[in-house]
């Protein structure tokens, strides 16, 4: 068993298996990026594909226990392999280069005395990256130069980084909280679970949410050239029960961080204010409607205690074209509503409504009194994130050290023969043997100049 785990073939096999599963998963339809209609079409027209997608699609795969076993095995294999390499390194004291090395050798005749040739070689190794030792055996100088002692530690750091990243995914799995909230301007919403639209994920060991409320005080959009959005600012008030509160501007890349939770703006929409009165003048509805369909511009709702349904489509910059009503932009230049009144699903009346306008539609009066915004907030807490970032730093430093400081060494034996010297240069390198041969050639050229 131990042998299997320390086998590098086993590690590669695990990585290949993971890669294969991910490739298959990514090529299958992904329900998270498909519309409900597209999902329904696949389900009806290609049920076998839908079944496969449920199991092997990215959502199904990453939620399956098997997908947790695979990284776990990679973690164990990497940990054992790293530990084994570290042990053998500490045992050898770095005297041996682990794994495969490439060897090269060259013999040349160099003009000049052995002493001069020796000093020329020492000059060639003058870079601080080379560490040079000299042995004299039977009056023959042997220069032993090597570099790249950090390379091994780079590899170790990379493995440590990989282990840390895998550990981070476990920490995330145990501590992740995700949910979503919908805030409409002016309405306080509890930060407790009852204030959430949906809680997607709870931490394994549970968690306490703040016992306070959040209110969207104002939502602002900034456009460039009256066309391109360049900033979204949601000013929120977070208040405690005892009356203490503070204001914070949440921007897209600048979330609210409060009591270990992060609140990000995800999307926004319009929330028109309507007053709806019955024939007798009785107020049937007086409030704001969050339009959450068609990019926050359309929705339907039922007037409480009646069988009257209303479908609202909002045009922030209304224009009537030959193809029907359109909006020129998202800017509130000419806000107009198209309103459809239905009774038991049958359309009774439809028309347009301008700001402040009151319209009679069948037996109700609708007044459009103002416009607000709603903002969709993603709430998250993840203790795995800092662990992941530490792991990534280890990975990058480890890889750079491995690439820059890989092991290579040269032995130079200088044999004096009359006025010349026969120099034998032999060496090893961990990587890039062809470049190493060029390097040897270059050193020899410098020495024989």
């Amino acid at each position: 068993m131990w042998r299997i785990f320390i086998s590098r073939r086993f590690a590669v096999s695990l990585l290949v298996l993971m890669l294969g599963l991910l490739i298959l998963a990514i090529l299958l339809p992904n329900p998270s990026i498909l519309s409900p209609e597209e999902i329904r079409t696949i389900k009806e027209q290609r049920p076998y594909l839908f079944k496969i997608t449920e199991i092997l699609g990215i959502q199904g795969l990453t939620a399956s226990p098997f997908f947790f076993v695979l990284p776990f095995l990679i973690f164990i294999s990497t940990a054992i392999c790293t530990w084994t390499r570290l042990q053998s390194r500490l045992k050898s004291g770095g005297a041996e280069i682990e794994g495969r090395v490439f060897k090269a050798a060259k013999e040349v005749t160099v003009k000049g005395e052995a002493k001069i040739v020796r000093s020329r070689f020492l000059k060639a190794f003058s870079s601080p990256l080379w560490s040079v030792q000299e042995n004299i055996k039977e009056e023959i100088p042997i220069l032993i130069a090597h570099r790249g002692r950090f390379g091994f530690w780079g590899s170790m750091l990379f493995h440590l980084g990989l282990l840390t990243v895998l550990l981070a995914t476990i920490v995330t799995g145990l501590t992740l909280f995700t949910g979503e909230m919908l805030l409409t301007e002016g309405y306080p919403i509890p930060l407790k679970e009852e204030g959430f639209l949906k809680v997607w994920r709870r931490p394994f060991f549970g968690m306490k949410l703040p016992d306070e409320a959040i209110t969207l005080e104002e939502f602002k959009r900034v456009f460039k050239d009256n066309k391109y959005p360049i900033d979204y600012i949601a000013t929120v008030r977070v208040g405690e029960k005892d009356g203490f509160s503070f204001l914070k501007d949440i921007r897209v890349n600048d979330p609210l961080k409060y009591q270990g939770l992060q609140y990000n703006i995800d999307r926004y929409g319009f929330a028109p204010s309507f007053v709806i009165k019955g024939k007798d003048g009785k107020v049937l509805f007086d409030g704001d409607i969050n339009l959450v369909l068609v990019g926050g511009q359309e929705d339907s709702f039922q007037i409480p205690d009646t069988d009257i349904g209303i479908t609202v489509r909002f045009y922030p910059d209304f224009v009537m074209t030959k193809d029907g009503p359109r909006t020129r932009s998202d800017i509130l230049n000419n806000p107009v509503f198209s309103i459809k009144v239905t009774r038991e699903g049958i359309v009774m009346k439809q028309g347009f409504l301008y700001m402040g306008q009151e319209a009679e539609m069948t037996d109700i009066m609708i007044t459009y009194t103002g416009i607000k915004y709603w903002v969709h907030i993603l709430v998250a807490r993840d203790w795995g994130a800092p662990v992941l970032f530490i792991g990534l730093v280890f990975l990058v430093i480890g890889l750079i050290a491995r690439l820059l400081f890989y092991e290579k060494g040269l032995n130079v034996v200088i044999n004096a023969e009359g006025e010349n010297c026969i120099v034998k240069v032999s060496g090893y390198t961990k990587y890039f043997p062809a470049f190493f041969e060029r390097e040897i050639k270059k050193i020899i050229e410098e020495v024989t100049k």
Binding site: N30, I33, F432
Partner: protein
């Protein structure tokens, strides 16, 4: 595309095409001078390409890092930049252009066919991590494309048309170069994925969400991680490793265009 930017870019493309022709003449008819002309043409193309990017940068107020057109404009520029980088190590390898420039033109051509609207950065893209993410993405994918191009040359060099390619460096040097580019690309890819994770954490509160592009980045990372593992620990080199390099590159391209049969993006409505 404003007029000046377009003119500069098309002239640059012309320079690249002429350089391929010059290199081909140099290779087939063994004309040294044609290879020199090839280098001048590619330099001319690169300068105009650079000025075209700078023009766009000035007009939009941000580096070209959003949408398909800008990605291809910048990505192809990185590939050519890597060609010049190889020349620092191996000055007499102009003929590499035959393999590398078509890759750059393929990337550029793919982008030119898409809309090139001049837009300011939308709020999700206004993060310093974006620059790190995108820059290293192009270093990574630029390196992988160059590695794949050299792998093709390697196979030609050791294969049936080796006689025509004697002026290229020895196969062993090509093999080392492939390894270097994959190694460098892998480091860049790791930084790209890391910067993307930090950016995602600030944007959505989570560092990973298995969205199509994230999954694809992980696929690329695993692909080239396996490549390196096979080379460093199991001793893959030569033709076997060259084929692996080409297959890896083709696989990540196909995977990208085949994402769930729908190319998904990270961002939602905002």
């Amino acid at each position: 595309m404003i007029q000046l930017e377009g003119i500069l870019l098309w002239l640059g493309v012309g320079g690249y095409v002429l350089s391929i022709l010059a290199y081909l003449v140099g290779l087939i008819f063994k004309k040294e001078k044609a290879a020199v002309w090839g280098f001048w043409f590619i330099s001319f193309g690169f300068i105009l390409h650079t000025v075209s990017i700078a023009t766009r940068w000035i007009v939009t107020g941000h580096p070209p890092v959003i949408a398909g057109y800008e990605h291809s404009l910048f990505g192809s520029w990185f590939i050519i930049l890597l060609f010049f980088t190889i020349r620092i190590w191996l000055p007499k390898i102009e003929l590499f252009g035959i393999a590398i420039i078509p890759f750059a033109l393929f990337v550029l051509g793919n982008g030119i066919m898409t809309a090139s609207v001049h837009e300011p950065l939308s709020p999700p893209y206004q993060s310093n991590w974006l620059w790190v993410h995108i820059t290293f993405a192009w270093f990574a994918y630029g390196s992988f494309s160059v590695a794949a191009a050299i792998a093709i040359l390697y196979l030609l060099r050791v294969g049936i048309i080796s006689k025509f390619l004697e002026r290229l460096p020895e196969p062993e040097i090509l093999d080392d170069l492939i390894f270097r580019f994959i190694f460098f690309g892998f480091i860049s890819l790791t930084i790209e994925v890391g910067a993307g994770a930090i950016w995602a954490k600030g944007l959505w509160g989570r560092y990973w969400g298995w969205d199509p592009v994230e999954t694809w980045s992980l696929i690329s990372w695993l692909t080239y991680g396996i490549n390196l593992h096979l080379r460093t620990t199991l001793g893959w080199q030569g033709s076997k490793a060259a084929w692996l390099t080409i297959i890896s590159f083709v696989a990540i391209i196909i995977t990208f265009f085949g994402i769930g049969f729908v190319v998904g993006i990270h961002t939602q409505l905002l």
